[in-house]
Symmetry: C2
Subunit: 318 residues, 2 copies
Amino acid sequence: MAEVKNKQVVLKDYVTGFLKESDLDLVENTITLKLPEGSNEILLKNLYLSCDPFMRNLMSDIGILEKFLPYAPGSPLFGYGVAKVLESGHPDYKKGDLVWGFTKWEEYSLVPSSRILFKIEHTDVPLSYYTGILGMPGMTAYAGFFEVGLPKKGEKVFVSAASGAVDLLKNKFGFDDAFNYKEEPDLDAALKRYFPEGIDIYFENVGGKTLDAVLLNMRVHGRIVVCGMISQYNRAQPEGVTNLGNLIMKRIRMQGLAVTDYYPMYHKLVEYVVPKIKEEKIVYVEDIAEGLENGPAALVGLFNGRNVGKQVLVLARE
Amino acid sequence: MAEVKNKQVVLKDYVTGFLKESDLDLVENTITLKLPEGSNEILLKNLYLSCDPFMRNLMSDIGILEKFLPYAPGSPLFGYGVAKVLESGHPDYKKGDLVWGFTKWEEYSLVPSSRILFKIEHTDVPLSYYTGILGMPGMTAYAGFFEVGLPKKGEKVFVSAASGAVDLLKNKFGFDDAFNYKEEPDLDAALKRYFPEGIDIYFENVGGKTLDAVLLNMRVHGRIVVCGMISQYNRAQPEGVTNLGNLIMKRIRMQGLAVTDYYPMYHKLVEYVVPKIKEEKIVYVEDIAEGLENGPAALVGLFNGRNVGKQVLVLARE
């Protein structure tokens, strides 16, 4: 059986503090491009890998997010990606299928069929979009905003950590306004300036001091969709949030979101977003890095605001 | 017109840190027991006053709970109580009516008819109960548990700051278990012992370190009903809560409760609780202090665990 080379990005050891490129290693392994007899696994050729902040959690010995299995030092990272099925031991998938879901940071992966793998039906949009707007991040935004946030017409929405330059957010993405928190010495004052009547829905990706400032500026019956707390993932000890008393008098609902709960309604995202992409009613920007060897830098870049748009790593274009 | 003496408990000055009896003063004023011509106010004889933790918030210059008018130094405290209508300028109330709602810490009060005043229909239960189980605290428990907590059969519920001795909670009130947090050096370990499978509903009255320990022990899809944060009210700076990351992976809903939102369904509480009181299916304990002069001590006692059961102050028994 033909063995081929299989480059991988592996975690050297558990990480404390800020992720550095030197925490990751590029190694070369081999893989047999043939399923073992009787296996119901799926053999994938990875095309696009998604760089996602949650991956940092899985690099801690004990993550901020309990009960989520961390990466094993010496083993390749895993995460979301787009792949092509080379061989399938499972009846739901067949050779040549394009899928998105959980795969590993390597050229070829053998994954159990129990893993989350969605078949890609629409190939008239860029395949890489299934790492972002049509993948896990898109589903997170869709479920968080519509299913948890329950927006009503006219409400004011604040999203933290909307990647990209302020000009880009305002002129290209169509946000009413945007600011760079690094240029705002007083976040509370900034929010009061941008939201003089307060915030109805806060899409929380940051945590810590940002959450504290937002709590002061929420409106009565506001909703906080807790999707991530990226400011905390690189810290040994999370920052304390001191303004939770606001939840009471303002009757705020603060609700954690795990996108996997909403995967059964993934078709709703596709139906909603694919036409909007084709009609160019949604603006979507990607930041593309090429090749596994550039993976560590791309991943580290998420945490210092280097990327503009969704950070994708291309391994192969089919 | 006959003027009568009117004893009052007044706030001396804004309070920082723990409330002390010396922060309050007993003064004697006079009041004319006659409504001004054309007034639509209501003249009340106060019978029972309720000692409630939220009153501490109103003694801070800037409260932990924004946008709630603090007490004015030199003026009597206000809060919930049971009173008898002496004269009414409003058609909904008439002389002799028994009411519960917002009144002041004094013998006689002139209150605007816009204040929350519920007419007491059932007088075959002790009137003082309308400061507690049949008043604001009862409505808070009812709405918080049933309307916000949405309990399902078999779920595990943790209530912080259930007043009273542990033996009382277990043997008299019928709790499955109870512990004194002051005797637990490690709250996380205590919760793991009492809730080996985790907590589905947390009725939050305490905040700070208690909330942090509970967050570690919540179950997936748990609900945190945020009703109060008594541990924070006496602090100049609130404690930081560090374990909010648990909201995400456990998809926890944390929701602030303001009981006033639920007053339109007050009749549901009465229908639910009055029969249970008469059939002795609900055990209810009061801690009774007599006379306005004992008001400051009764109020201060809330914050050092002195009272057993609902702290009531009796001014007159009709």
